[in-house]
Subunit: 354 residues, 2 copies
């Protein structure tokens, strides 16, 4: 199948730093190529992919110095996609909704994966208008604020099966990975670790927007021999950091649309203790690959007995549900369905302009 | 003629507060209606216009509380414009470039007025790609960074002839109107006034982004009996504030694409002393409606003899070159030219989608 993948330009594919969307696009492209498909990736020029790369901007916008108008490069990319549209059997967008008025007029089957949170008031009337534009949620929970959107499927994210390795040993500490932000609730992770008298290692960055929160709410909590703040870690450090943990603590306080770090932990064989918000109960099977609880007190209770869970079951859950191969197969099934149901191009539809 | 005007949603048309684009769109709409045309305005719902208002968002985005995604309401508006496109003879956009990929596929004649500065690096490749999309500059100077854009005309802004009144008396002070920002150089205005030993009245707002600059560079300069800082003034105060001035000082240090306050001064019969940047030499006729100089020293020299200029000539320059009627006539001439040269819709062009 001739497939176009259209990525955001904020980060390269895959990203040098943080960027969940671009990481997933990278895994999807590479897996589709491995499966024999003809994949073209529209992305920033510093991307690295097994697909054919169409370099739409020299470098990722977040890294290439100050960019005053991040919309302009995306408009240029969308125009290029429109001009080449008829070369593809399927066009798969990952750029939120900026292409919706164009996509509606595409003569080629297309689909859009929504990677972010959708509980933003401005989005509701937009998705109601564009309810015929097929969109993919990354969890069922993510759909909640937009019941009128053109939901075509839910496709959970996946990681390459060999990206992270299974660590059978029981683990020596609790782990927290993420940004230090009010939504991620590292303060709850600290409270859980202290109540259980277990060491906690925190791998987290502090964005400038969260610096005041860090100073006001978090810094004093780190002054405890049980708590170790290791700062930001790179992708290459995750295997060791997660794999040597007894559990990942994920005590979030926001409607997390997916939560990649949960499946990274499972890939290492590490169970997840998480609060029931957003996609958590869809990703973690309570009592098998971790515990899904409603309060911090319950989290403390289950963390004390998390070693009872079989780490092989965690890895097995990853292999069954969260590999890049499974993700690519889900998307291919959806592509075929959308192609089969796509109307013949009418006179009133258009790709390249005169 | 059936004309659509598509305004930004940041401010209402006209704006309650600062918003040059929305003010000009308001004047243009009302003047076209006065001339007998059938005008439809796509804008925020709190706009007030003689045109038919299509309320595209309940209130101006800058005033209606925090808006997380200002692009979404604009996408929805563009979709509505596309669906109704065939009801118009001409669609006139004022929303920068977000509609370019759509406009290229419009079967209806259209034009876009660019209201902002264009020396942003991200814009050059975009305007090169879309060089067939007709755009209007608000000064010849504004075009400089984008020689490859699809320039169709330059149309200077205009004000309703009766918006501001002619003040024949010679004036009692120098005036400065604008934001307190490094580009506007109120410090130079103060230096000119002090060197001339003439009083200066400053009507200016301090945006949060410029608060540190104001404290660091400007506040101490205000401590002089010649200098009076009157704060922000509303539209209704401009007639008196500008009309009683001996001259408007406009010592800018940036490529100002037009400079509405210059023609407001002229409408009051007040000459302008300005530095030669951006549109200044196109708006001010040196030795007639003001002085256009290259240095602060020259500005001091000409300010001393600005009373020699005939205030009636300033008002006459306004009436000849900068009324809303002249602006509307320029646009109508351009609309007719674009309609005459517009290709018949082909099969590969489209308005409403299926």
């Amino acid at each position: 199948m001739r497939i176009a993948q259209v990525a955001p330009l904020a980060e390269s594919v895959p990203p040098l730093l943080y960027g969940g969307t671009e990481r997933v696009v990278a895994y999807l492209c590479d897996e589709l190529v491995r499966m024999g498909h003809d994949v073209t990736l529209f992305a920033s020029g510093d991307s690295e992919t097994r697909a054919k790369l169409h370099a739409e901007w020299p470098t990722a916008l977040r890294l290439g110095g100050h960019v005053e108008d991040p919309v302009a490069p995306h408009l240029l990319m969308l125009e290029h996609v429109m001009q080449q549209a008829e070369q593809f059997d399927m066009i798969h967008f990952h750029v939120a909704e900026i292409h919706f008025p164009l996509a509606r007029r595409l003569p080629v089957p297309h689909v859009t994966t929504l990677h972010g949170r959708l509980d933003i008031p401005e989005l509701a009337p937009l998705y109601r208008e564009f309810s015929d534009v097929p969109v993919v949620s990354i969890s069922t929970s993510q759909r909640t604020p937009l019941p009128h959107a053109g939901w075509a499927a839910t496709v959970y994210h996946g990681l390459p099966a060999d990206l992270l390795s299974f660590h059978p040993a029981p683990g020596r500490y609790l782990a927290f990975v993420g940004r230090i932000s009010p939504e991620k609730r590292v303060d709850r992770a600290i409270a859980i670790a202290r109540a259980c008298r277990q060491p906690l290692r925190i791998a987290a960055k502090v964005d400038p927007a969260d610096a005041a929160y860090f100073e006001r709410e978090i810094r004093s909590l780190l002054d405890d021999p049980l708590i170790e703040y290791v700062g930001e870690i790179g992708e290459q450090d995750k295997d060791e950091f997660l794999g040597n943990a007894s559990a990942l603590l994920f005590p979030i306080d926001w409607p997390e649309p997916f939560g990649l770090v949960m499946i990274e932990a499972l890939a290492c064989g590490v169970p997840v203790v998480a609060l029931r918000r957003g996609a958590v109960p869809e990703v973690i099977e309570h009592g098998a690959s971790g515990f899904v609880v409603d309060t911090v007190d319950e989290a403390i209770e289950v963390t004390r007995r998390v070693a009872q869970l079989d780490r092989r079951q965690c890895r097995a859950a990853f292999e069954r549900r969260f590999t890049a191969r499974r993700m690519a197969e889900d998307y291919l099934r959806l592509y075929r369905k959308l192609i089969a149901h796509h109307p013949e191009p009418e006179q009133s539809e258009v790709a390249g302009a005169s």
